[in-house]
C-alpha cells in the first residue's frame, strides 16, 4: 500500500494561480520523506493533496489503492480518522480540552475513547507529559503543546503522519525532540512520515528528500 500522485496540477483563486505543476511521485509504506523548498514553493499544498485534505485540479492521487477523486466523504473521513495523523505548525489544539482529551479526539470520533485511553496516557508519558495530562493547552509551553499534537496524531496508530512544519514555531531543543519522536515512530512502528520543513538539518534526517521549487519537484 502506498500513496501515488500522477501528473497532479493545482490552481487556486480568481484569477486562477497555478501552485503545483505536473507532480508525479510515489510514497511507499514505512518511508520517512521530507518536503523542502522555499516559502511559496508548494510543499504544504502538495502535503494537503497527498493527505486527501485537498483535491487536485487535475491528475490523480491514489491513497491505499483508492482514487481520491472517487472516494465518498464517508470513506475519506474514515481514512483520515483511522489511517492518517496530522501535525500542524501551530498545534491546533482545542483550547477547552485538556491534553489527554485533545489526544483522545480522533478516538472519540471512532467511538474508542475508553479503549484508547491507556494508549493516550502512555503516549503522553512517553513524550514526558505524564504529569501534565489534565492541563489545558494555555497551561503548556509551545514545545509541550506540539508534543500533545503529535500524540494526538499517533493515537489511532495511523499508517501515515503528515506534518506541516511541526518544528517551525519551536526552539532548537524542542525541534530536535519532535524530530526524534518522528524518527522513533517511523523506526519502531513503521509509520510513514511525510514532513514539510524549512530546516535542511531536520530534512536530512529523512530517508528521502523531495525538493520543490515554483510548484515543481526538482
Amino acid at each position: 500500500m502506498s500513496i501515488t500522485a500522477k501528473h497532479v496540477h493545482k490552481t487556486i483563486g480568481k484569477p486562477p494561480t497555478r501552485i503545483l505543476h505536473d507532480i508525479s511521485l510515489e510514497i511507499k509504506e514505512g518511508e520517512f520523506i521530507s518536503l523542502t523548498g522555499r516559502s511559496g514553493s508548494g510543499k504544504s499544498s502538495l502535503l494537503y493533496l497527498l493527505s486527501g485534505l485537498d483535491l487536485p485540479s487535475s491528475g490523480s492521487i491514489v491513497l491505499d489503492g483508492h482514487s481520491l477523486l472517487t472516494m465518498s466523504q464517508h470513506e475519506l473521513c474514515r481514512f483520515h480518522n483511522e489511517k492518517v495523523g496530522f501535525v500542524f505548525q501551530f498545534h491546533y489544539l482545542v483550547a477547552e480540552l485538556n491534553a489527554l482529551e485533545n489526544v483522545l479526539l480522533p478516538a472519540r470520533k471512532a467511538g474508542q475513547t475508553l479503549s484508547r485511553l491507556p494508549h493516550a496516557q502512555s503516549l503522553l508519558e512517553q513524550f514526558d507529559l505524564g504529569k501534565k495530562m489534565n492541563r489545558l493547552p494555555r497551561q503548556l509551553s509551545g514545545g509541550e503543546q506540539q508534543r500533545v499534537a503529535i500524540a494526538r496524531s499517533l493515537i489511532m496508530d495511523p499508517k501515515y503522519v503528515f506534518a506541516d512544519e511541526p518544528t517551525g514555531a519551536l526552539d532548537t531543543v524542542n525541534g530536535e525532540l519532535v524530530m526524534s519522536i518522528f524518527r522513533e515512530c517511523n523506526a519502531k512502528s513503521g509509520t510513514t512520515i511525510i514532513l514539510v520543513t524549512h530546516d535542511p538539518g531536520f530534512a536530512s534526517l529523512a530517508q528521502r528528500q523531495i525538493h520543490m521549487m515554483d510548484g515543481k519537484i526538482t
Partner: protein
C-alpha cells in the same frame, strides 16, 4: 459531539447563562401571561355560561329600509321609486309571536334542561328623592332559578319569593346602592307608559358584575301588567344539558323560526373578539422576548463559529464529517433551548401556583373566586415549549450550517489562528 459542545459552553459560562436567561424569561413569561389571561377568560366564560341562558329566543326586530314601503303604496308594477325622506324606524315591537308553541316544543326537547319566558322593560325606579333608570326582567322565578345561577348570588331574601306575585322585586346590589333601599321597603316602578306602581323589595343579589348587579327581577305577570301588555313575552331563556351544543341547536332552530335565536357565545361575540385581540397581544409580547433571545443565540453561535475555525479544521482533518461539525454547533443552541425551556416551564408553573393563592377581592372581577384565577391548561405549556424550541432551533441552524460548509484546507490557507 455533546462532550465538545458542553466543553465549549462551560468555557464561557457568563455568555451561556445570559443566552439561557433569554429563553428562560420568554418561556416563563408566556406561561404566566397565558395562565392569567386564560384563567380569567375561563372564569369569565364560566360565568357567562352559568349566569345566563345558553340560548335566547327573542322577538325579531325588523327595521324599515329605503324600499320597504314600495309595494304597499305602488304595487309591484312601478319600479325605481325614490322617497324623500326615505322611510325608517322599527316595524313592530320585538315580541315572540306565539310563545306557547315554543313552550310545548322546548318541554318535549330532551336537550333542554329548563326554560323561562321573560319580558325585559326599561323602567324608572325611585325611592323618595333617589331615582334611577333600570331594566326590570319579568320572569317565572322558579324556572329562572333552573336556567341561571342567580339564586347562588342572593345576599338577602330569596329569589323564589317573587313567585307569590303581588308586585315584588329582587334587585341587584348596585341598584340597591343607587336607590339607598333596604329589603322589605317599597320602590316606585314607573313604566314608559306613565304608570307608576310600588313594588316591595324581597331580595338583593350580588354577582360581582356591574351590569348584572344593576338589573332587577320581578314576576312576569306583574311586569306584563305594569307594561300594559298582558301575555306578551319578549324572550325565552333556555338552559341546555350540554352548553357546547348551543350554537348548533340555535342555528337549527333559526332555519324554521321567524324569531331571533342566539346562543350564549353568539350573544357575547364582541367579548370573544376581545379574547382574540388578547391572544394576539400575548403572542406578540412573548414572541418579542423569544426573538431577542433567538438573536442572542444566533449572535453567540456565529461568533463561536468564527472563533473556532481552527478547531473545525483540526476536527475535519481527524475524520469528523460535515454532519458532525453541524451537530457540534447546533447542539449548543439545542442545549440552551432545552435548558432554558425546562427551567422556564418550571419557573412559570411555580409563579402561576403562587399567583393562584394571591387574594383578589374588592373589585368586581375578584368577587367570584376570592383570588386570581390562573389556568394550568397543558396547551399553555406545550405552546410555550414549542415557541422556545422553534425560536432557538431556527437561530442555531444558520450558524451551524455555516460551520459545516467550512473546509479544513480553506481555514488553513486563510491562516486561522
Amino acid at each position: 459531539m455533546i462532550f465538545i459542545a458542553l466543553k465549549y459552553m462551560f468555557a464561557k459560562p457568563r455568555q451561556t447563562i445570559l443566552t439561557l436567561l433569554g429563553i428562560f424569561f420568554g418561556t416563563g413569561a408566556f406561561i404566566v401571561l397565558s395562565g392569567m389571561m386564560l384563567g380569567f377568560r375561563a372564569y369569565f366564560v364560566e360565568q357567562l355560561i352559568n349566569n345566563s341562558a345558553h340560548i335566547r329566543i327573542q322577538g325579531r326586530e325588523d327595521f324599515l329600509t329605503d324600499h320597504s314601503l314600495d309595494s304597499s303604496f305602488f304595487g309591484k308594477s312601478v319600479q325605481h321609486i325614490f322617497w324623500n325622506p326615505p322611510p325608517s324606524g322599527r316595524k313592530d315591537r320585538a315580541i315572540i309571536e306565539n310563545p306557547h308553541n315554543w313552550y310545548q316544543r322546548l318541554a318535549s326537547d330532551p336537550r333542554v334542561t329548563a326554560f323561562t319566558p321573560q319580558l325585559t322593560i326599561s323602567m324608572i325606579l325611585s325611592n323618595g328623592n333617589a331615582s334611577t333608570p333600570a331594566t326590570v326582567t319579568g320572569c317565572d322565578p322558579l324556572r329562572q332559578l333552573e336556567v341561571t345561577t342567580i339564586g347562588d348570588y342572593m345576599k338577602e331574601g330569596r329569589f323564589e319569593d317573587l313567585g307569590v306575585g303581588g308586585n315584588r322585586l329582587v334587585i341587584g346590589s348596585e341598584l340597591q346602592k343607587r336607590l339607598g333601599i333596604k329589603i322589605s321597603q317599597n320602590v316606585i316602578v314607573a313604566s314608559a307608559g306613565g304608570l307608576a306602581i310600588p313594588f316591595k323589595v324581597v331580595g338583593i343579589f350580588k354577582t360581582g358584575q356591574l351590569i348584572l348587579d344593576s338589573m332587577s327581577f320581578a314576576n312576569l305577570m306583574d311586569i306584563q301588567m305594569l307594561n300594559q301588555t298582558p301575555n306578551q313575552v319578549g324572550e325565552i331563556a333556555i338552559k341546555l344539558h350540554d352548553h357546547t351544543q348551543a350554537k348548533r341547536i340555535a342555528n337549527a332552530w333559526t332555519l324554521w323560526s321567524s324569531e331571533k335565536i342566539q346562543s350564549w357565545d353568539e350573544i357575547s361575540a364582541s367579548l370573544f373578539n376581545v379574547f382574540r385581540v388578547q391572544d394576539v397581544i400575548r403572542y406578540i409580547s412573548v414572541g418579542s422576548i423569544l426573538i431577542v433571545a433567538a438573536f442572542g443565540i444566533y449572535n453567540i453561535l456565529n461568533i463561536t463559529v468564527m472563533q473556532k475555525r481552527k478547531d473545525i479544521a483540526i476536527l475535519r482533518s481527524m475524520g469528523y464529517r460535515t454532519r458532525d461539525i453541524v451537530t457540534l454547533f447546533f447542539l449548543q443552541g439545542l442545549i440552551l433551548a432545552v435548558t432554558g425551556m425546562i427551567t422556564g416551564l418550571i419557573a412559570g408553573y411555580l409563579v402561576c401556583r403562587y399567583l393562584a393563592t394571591v387574594p383578589f377581592g374588592g373589585s368586581p372581577l375578584g368577587e367570584g373566586t376570592g383570588h386570581l384565577t390562573i389556568s394550568f391548561a397543558s396547551k399553555i405549556y406545550i405552546h410555550a415549549a414549542l415557541l422556545a424550541m422553534s425560536s432557538a432551533i431556527l437561530a442555531s441552524v444558520l450558524p451551524a450550517q455555516a460551520a459545516g460548509k467550512m473546509t479544513p484546507i480553506d481555514i488553513i490557507r486563510s491562516g486561522a489562528e
